[in-house]
Structure formats: C-alpha cells, structure tokens
Subunit: 147 residues, 3 copies
C-alpha cells in the first residue's frame, strides 16, 4: 500500500456566480484553468439542490431533489480525469432555515448557487484517470501503485 | 473565468481552548499570527452552539441555538479581509448523542469549545477583500480577475 | 497564541479498498507510508458504519451503529502520534438513500468501505504528540507553543 505522492500546484479562492449551477461551474473552472487533478471545498448557499445516492445493489444513482433555499454547510471533493476531461467528484451537505441538516449526497446538476466560496488546490503528478470498475459499476481511480 | 492563483503560506495544526468561543478563537488566532487569507477545517466537540441561516429573501441571518453538547463533525471555511481585519467565514455541522446530524449552518458566536483541533492553511497573494454585494446584501469577494 | 507552523510534505489522492474498514485502512496507509502528521478528507460510500459520541460528563465514547448503505458526504480529520504510532482522528457525516443526513460522529471501527477516495496531506515539523488531558479525559495535543 505504498503510494505515489503528488506535488501541490496552484491554490485558488474563488467567488462562485449567483444563479449558476454549482457542479457545472466547478467543472468549467477546472477546464478554463487547466486543472486536471486536485481537491476542493465549497461553502455558501443554494436556492435549491439535487443530491445523489448510489444504490449499492442496483448500481445506479438515485436523484433526490430539495426545492428550497439551503446553506451549503459542506461540499468537499476532488478533480481527476474521465474520458480525457476534468471531472469533479464532490459530496455536499445542506442545512435548512431551522438550522437542521436537511439534505446530503453526491453533488449532481441542479444545485443553484445563491452565494458560494470555493477553495481549489491543484495537484500535479502522474495523470489520475477514472476507469470503469466492475465490482461497483463506478468510474474509479487505479489502485495504489506499489512502491 | 481564468483566475489568479495564490501561494501557500504557513500550515498550522492547533488545539483549541476548552470553554472558549469557537469563532472568536479562530479569529483571534488569525490576528495573533498575521493570517489574512487562507482556509481552515475543525473537528471536535462543543458544549452548545448557535448556527446561522441566511434568509435569501429578507437578506438577513436567522440565528438558531442548540443548547446541548454535540460533536463538531465538520467545520470548514476561509479567511479573508473585511474592513481591514482578518475575517473568518466558516460553516459547521454538529451531531447529537444518538449519532444523528442535529444542527448545521453558518458559524456564529455562541459555539463553546469542549475540545477542538483546527487545521489552518495560510495563503499568500493579492489581498482578498470582502465588499458589500447589492444582489445578496452579503460581503463577498470580487469576481475572478480575468487573466 | 502565537503558533509554530509546519511545512507541507507529500500529497496523496488514493482509492480506498472495497470491503475494508475505513478507519483501519487510513491508519494502515499512514503506517505504510511513514506519515506521522497531516490532514485528510474522504468521500465515498459505506455498507454500514459506527460513529462515536463523546459524553462530556461521563468522559467516555458512546458508539452508535447504522446498519445500512450510506454515502460518506464528509469525513475530515488529522494525523498525529499517539504512543509512538500514527493516530488518525476523523469525524464523518453519512447520508441515506432519501438524500437525508442520517448519521454523524467520531469515526470508529465498523465503517465498511463500498467505495472511497481519500486526500491525505502530510505535514512536517516538530512531532505532534497526543497526551492525556485531565479536563476532558481525551488524548489531546499540547497547547500552542508561544513564539
């Protein structure tokens, strides 16, 4: 389980645009700035959101939509390559107006930004590429390269 | 949407003081160590907490207080400048004794530390300054500088 | 409250193994790669999980088990030394198939990985060692070294 390490690239703190889709905005940011691997974290608020749950038996995502304003209390994830393009994989947690955690899951299209602040940390190293995994039917990274 | 990148400054792992206010402690840490931009993450536990929800219509924060001990299961955020001083913007998620997510929102004064461990990553670059945004009535960063 | 800073070491993005225990896997990864201090973040999914709540009066952990598949919507934490070995301290938030936050707390053994992606950022500096704290009965870091 000895793993290859990566170098740190550029660091970004960015304001996210009102009214835009959160996932698509993050993906576009990576494309426009040439980021192909890294990690990210977002806080802010959305006007509404859709979150995904991966059914571990059926091997498909179920989308759950929440049509209300909510705080983005956490949204963390990573960037790697899928079919040659930057792919953002992030999970999100949202809270309602009573201060209760109300929704959470895999970030899907449909989360509309009210306000948002993202930290993006680029990493540099051997390309990190997602490929189809038979056991889970997900697109995953290769196993750790030994030594 | 080409963005300016920042350099990484100092990294800190710190124990937070029992009985103190979480938000004020983080702010004081930044002041005393001259940190004007960066990101942070905290885990630990609180004796009680107050979390905020920003009303997207009324344009004001609503405070929700939870008067019970809880785990800090996530608290992530950033540091930038507001009116010339380091400003900590963080969102928090808290869990109760049954292991249920119980409270979440914008970190406000009123979260009293039982135990806490913070990671603070300083960033260095062009000053990152919050200014009033008419659309949301929030203090936000400037839009991405092009190129 | 002037604090010692640390340097950044290696950065890792790793795929976590299906069917293995999350906490033990993270600990083993640190051992096998010689990581004694740092921070980490994980997203993914589990087949089931056990989360801890620290009773602030009784000074003991209560374990809450959730025997259902869930998304790991957040799992953040740190690495330091306890009794000479790398010790992973992480808190986790999990969501159910309806997209609701369902479980959260201190990451204990018993969270079984379905799929997982971890970011590990090594830090380098003066050894960071946990020691028994009388006030909380927890193993905590020393107070900030002044200057």
């Amino acid at each position: 389980m000895k793993a290859q390490s990566r170098q740190r690239g550029r660091s970004f703190l960015i304001r996210l645009p009102y009214g835009e889709d959160l996932l698509l905005t993050l993906k576009r940011f990576c494309e426009e700035n040439g980021i192909t691997q890294g990690v990210l974290a977002v806080i802010g608020a959305v006007r509404r959101a859709t979150v995904g749950y991966y059914d571990q038996e059926a091997h498909e995502y179920k989308a759950n939509s929440f049509d209300q304003p909510m705080e983005i209390v956490s949204c963390i994830g990573n960037i790697s390559l899928l079919e040659g393009e930057p792919f953002v994989h992030a999970h999100i947690v949202l809270a309602d107006k009573e201060g209760r955690p109300a929704a959470a899951g895999h970030l899907m299209e449909g989360a509309i930004i009210f306000a948002g602040e993202a930290f993006v940390q680029e990493l540099i190293g051997e390309p990190l590429v997602r490929e189809f995994d038979e056991q889970t039917s997900l697109s995953l990274w290769p196993w750790l390269s030994k030594g």
